[in-house]
């Protein structure tokens, strides 16, 4: 059962620089279907549109970001809701109760001059009406305990906690109203490896307790390997490959994904690793056809002219690459 679908989603930053229009194609015709009770990972390099995709899915689009075309549906109680047709108030009601968003650098969102229990209380007041102070505090403490965080942190100010603890407190805050979908944008970036493991442990715990869906955006393939059920790989604003995590790591089909996976250093294997030649394209000035073709060692004529379709090659493994289509035709004939 899917909980979130996106159809041909296109969202660009339209900038006006000295009268000249500059268009940053951050999300370019992305189709997505995210299922119930899964952890879906979105991987890609910095500046490939991962965060913008999350914003578009969360329907939080503010200028200069614009929705060009496409639709996003949430499925709530087996009813499809077209998010972009909702009013501001209706969207607000969906947030945190149905869908929660943990932004990048979430550890700095906490108000520095109030204690954490007050932050939790403010949050409850604005989303759940009619709770007394004691009820709210009990609910918070129970929630914190359930997630395995020490309850004494509720009496602390944000600056008294380490970065990793603040990050975990914010994630716990996002899970307070038991949302069905949680978006986590780079939740482990800028944290130490040991702390990073604690954060991943917490996300996994939340998903197990609530049985909900987590969409995890990170560039760290190790985190993806450890946590996600399915992965979508983005390159230059487009989804280029999507499959089960094991498939992506064991049997990736797109040349970019192969470079990405094969360039990762592994323990116990000192063999030389090569990274993809060239560098990622600018989203303002995309190459024609497939955006990866200037760096691709297998590129041929059609790659420079047309963007390949995002096709299912079997076993729910989708790839956007001419090699797949041409290869299949070759086998067929």
């Amino acid at each position: 059962m899917s909980v979130l679908t996106a159809e041909k989603l296109k969202s660009f930053y339209v900038l006006d620089i000295l009268g000249a229009e500059k268009v940053v194609k951050a999300v370019n015709e992305v189709n997505l279907e995210i299922r119930e009770n899964e952890i879906y990972g979105i991987a890609g390099e910095s500046g490939c549109g991962k965060t913008t995709l999350l914003k578009a899915l969360y329907a939080s689009i503010e200028p200069p970001l614009r929705l060009i075309s496409g639709r996003v549906f949430y499925v709530r109680d087996s009813q499809e809701i077209d998010v972009y047709s909702l009013s501001k108030e209706e969207k607000r009601r969906l947030r945190w109760e149905y869908i929660a968003y943990i932004p990048q650098g979430a550890m700095s969102v906490l108000n520095p001059v109030i204690k954490l229990k007050q932050t939790y209380r403010d949050f409850l007041d604005s989303h759940v009406a009619g709770k007394t102070k004691k009820e709210a505090f009990d609910m918070t403490r129970e929630h914190i305990n359930k997630l395995g965080l020490p309850a004494k942190i509720l009496d602390a100010y944000p600056h008294q906690l380490s970065g990793g603890m603040r990050q975990r407190v914010t994630i716990a805050l996002a899970a307070l109203l038991k949302p069905r979908i949680m978006f986590a944008d780079e939740p482990t970036t800028a944290l130490d490896v040991v702390v990073q493991r604690g954060v991943i442990q917490l996300l996994k715990g939340i998903q197990e307790i609530l049985g909900n869906t987590i969409v995890l955006v990170t560039h760290d393939m190790g985190v993806h390997a450890n946590l996600t059920d399915r992965i979508g790989i983005m390159y230059a604003g487009k989804m280029i490959e999507e499959a089960k995590t094991e498939e992506i790591f064991g049997n990736s089909l797109h040349p970019y994904t192969q470079y990405l996976i094969n360039s990762l250093p592994k323990f116990g294997d000192k063999g030389s690793r090569e990274s993809a030649p060239g560098s990622p394209p600018s989203l303002v000035d995309l190459p024609s056809g497939c955006p990866f073709h200037p760096r691709c060692p297998y590129a041929f004529d059609i790659c420079t002219e047309q963007m390949p379709e995002f096709l299912d090659v079997g076993n729910h493994h989708k790839v956007a690459c001419w090699l797949m289509k041409e290869g299949k035709d070759a086998i067929a004939s």
């Binding site: 603890m165 130490d192 702390v195 990073q196 493991r197 190790g222 450890n226 990405l260 323990f267 560098s279």
Partner: protein, 335 residues
Amino acid sequence: MQSLLEIKNLTKKFSLGSIISRLRITAVDNVSFGIKPAEIFTLAGESGCGKTTIAKMILGFEEPTSGAIVHKGRRPKKREKVWFTQGVQAIFQDPFGTFNPLRRVDCYFFEAVHNYKLARDKKEAQELINRKLKSVGLSFEEISGRYPSEFSGGQLQRVSIARSLLIDPSLLIADEPVSMVDASLRMSIMNLFKKLREEFGVSVIYITHDLATAYYISDRVAIMFRGNIVEMGPVEKVLMEAKHPYTKLLRNSIPEVDPGKRWSGKITLSDIEHEEYLREGCKFAGRCPRAMDICKREAPEDIYVDGILVKCHLYRRNRILIKDGKERQNSQHLK
């Protein structure tokens, strides 16, 4: 072989807080190590373990509280900055922070050539610069007249490396050189360090928190924790057969890029970091799964086990200390 750079009992203390409630934190605590020619040495550890402070002290940005830095058998004095930087060059984490955004990148090259008197005229300078840029996979045409914002992070980091190579240094200090570089280009920078080591015999102190890349490029590695080197030795041994409980924890916290090797079990994290710096005895004792009574009272000494330095009471058995060369080999680790 003579060491290129020798760090002897280096200590740095920082004062925190106001005059009334002063807190002295030992950021680097009695650290010693040496770098051999044509060697890639990694200092690895979490943030706050003192790895960057060591780099800053070597480069002379911070004054050590005590201890010595010996370069080519001499202790550089303050006036001898030029002599020192001819041998030791630095590469920083953020290439966009390294270069002034309003200055053209090639200015930095010509300035370095001028300061170190590397060429007689402009043509010779250009040739030298071009040669150095070629060794990192760029050319003079690609950089001349361009501003830092016109490069990608990976390219600019290479420009930064080429600049440091101008005077043929024998040692590069690279502080997290790839953490800001795109994932698909990271390995090209790593391979570049390997190439520089093989072709020009350049030594590298690679400072990182990423043990996977450390494993990939380095010969020797030192794991730091709260100002101490807790384990040091050849990379194969330290990372594949970790001895110190902290190294084990660190090693197991790296997410493996293999969905078949997911984590099982849970870990505990420290809530308050200050406590660990100020702790007496072993600083890891509060989180160590194998902590004993002695760990909380006494700081462990450097113990050599199979040629690897381990700072842990678990391996203490016969109190074999570094000074005693003969007994080193006999020491065995205590189960």
